[in-house]
Subunit: 249 residues, 2 copies
């Protein structure tokens, strides 16, 4: 998972004094079984996402035009795997079978990756960049509403693997060399965003605990209007990132 | 890369007091430009092998029947990547461009992997096990003839990633469940061994410095007869491993 560009990251209200669950640690917050179930869902989704990101980056490494590019992607894949390990260990530590926590999200994530298999190196880079940035924006928005222990873990595994800058540099150079590439990749990025939203809706429809946490109720501060605002911020950040890449979104 | 089963590992004469180059460190041994070139070749081949192993294991992870199996293979892939990093850093430390050192071996290793793409999970496990074991046997044989610094690095990156036991356990269980699987996998293992030998001959024919080190001349103790004995030991170890797997080799 990626740290989005600082300039385009959605502004989370991190400066405000935390209240409610955000002011509690896991021991206190997890006394509420609904909150506990929502966190297990969140960590399970994130863990499977990291494992899927590992696979996708390792797959992209095979398309790399040079040995140095290949090594760079393998490094990022390995970093994603270590994030996965931390999430899996955390699930085990809170007495949850990690596999059971991940399984509900496998179909949506596998579906996303199947529907958006890149046909070349540049499509792979754009996909990794767009997908990781959106996922990272989403988890950062959610993180500020989590208990302090879970929040620290989620922010740690979203730490920058350096993929963003690498992708931006390579894609920009390719568009400069052949401007027609930009049109093709802009279409590709739109398709990625559409597919991501459709799979996200599927998850929200199927996972009660997670959706209840997102839409008020369990954790703090989210109501339906807030969710709408969050999606607006994430979409805006996506548009800015695409412009920075030289793509109309 | 794998530690072969202790019981079946070819006996390297590690107990003997090192003499010649094996008694020197890198600073002393590398004064000989032919020895230096041979080590750069060896580290380049090993580094590319680790990167290729990373890709292969990541690819096999996609065929995994369960999420736990997938995570296990991703872990091994990540371990291979960290071995690659150590070799690449070492090449850079001895003022060699890592990419340049690896490139001469890319065609042979890519050729091997292309010719032996596994068609299912079990074929992938057998391939990883057979390939890693043979490579590990070979590098251990060579290691005892290297200077002390290079030897320590080579032995460190051959450290067990746990893949051997994992593969043996899974393959045995599959053969127990359906004995016909054994016949198919035995044929597969023979094909892997044949393809590995044919690619190894290609490398030996193309890389003078490396072959000269292997066949006497540069490092200590290898002459053509010794190379023949080494291949006999490696082949015997392979046969024993296949028998342990429940496969006739």
């Amino acid at each position: 998972m990626e740290t989005p560009d600082n300039a385009t990251a959605p502004a989370a209200d991190a400066a405000e004094e935390p209240t409610g669950i955000a002011a509690q640690d896991w021991a206190a917050a997890s006394a509420d079984p609904q909150y506990r179930a929502a966190v297990v869902d969140l960590l399970g989704a994130l863990a499977y996402g990291e494992l899927a990101a590992f696979e996708r980056l390792a797959e992209d490494a095979k398309l790399a035009p040079t040995l140095a590019d290949k090594a760079e992607l393998a490094k990022m894949a390995s970093a994603e795997f270590h994030h996965f390990e931390r999430l899996r260990d955390r699930l085990a530590a809170i007495e949850t079978e990690p596999t059971k926590a991940m399984e509900p999200f496998a179909a949506a994530l596998d579906g996303f990756h199947r529907q958006t298999a890149p046909s070349d190196w540049l499509e792979g880079l754009v996909k990794a960049y767009v997908g990781d940035s959106i996922a990272s924006d989403f988890y950062r928005e959610v993180a500020v509403r989590l208990d302090s222990d879970t929040r620290a873990l989620v922010l740690a595994v979203l730490d920058d693997t350096g993929h963003g800058n690498f992708a931006v540099e390579k894609v920009r150079a390719a568009i400069e060399a052949d401007p027609r590439v930009g049109g093709r990749l802009a279409l590709w990025a739109r398709r990625l965003m559409g597919e991501a939203l459709s799979q996200a809706q599927r998850v929200v429809a199927e996972r009660d605990a997670l959706s209840t946490m997102l839409v008020g109720g369990v954790a703090d501060g989210f109501d339906l209007a807030a969710v709408g605002e969050m999606f607006t911020r994430i979409t805006k950040a996506h548009t800015k990132r695409m412009a920075a890449l030289g793509l109309a979104s």
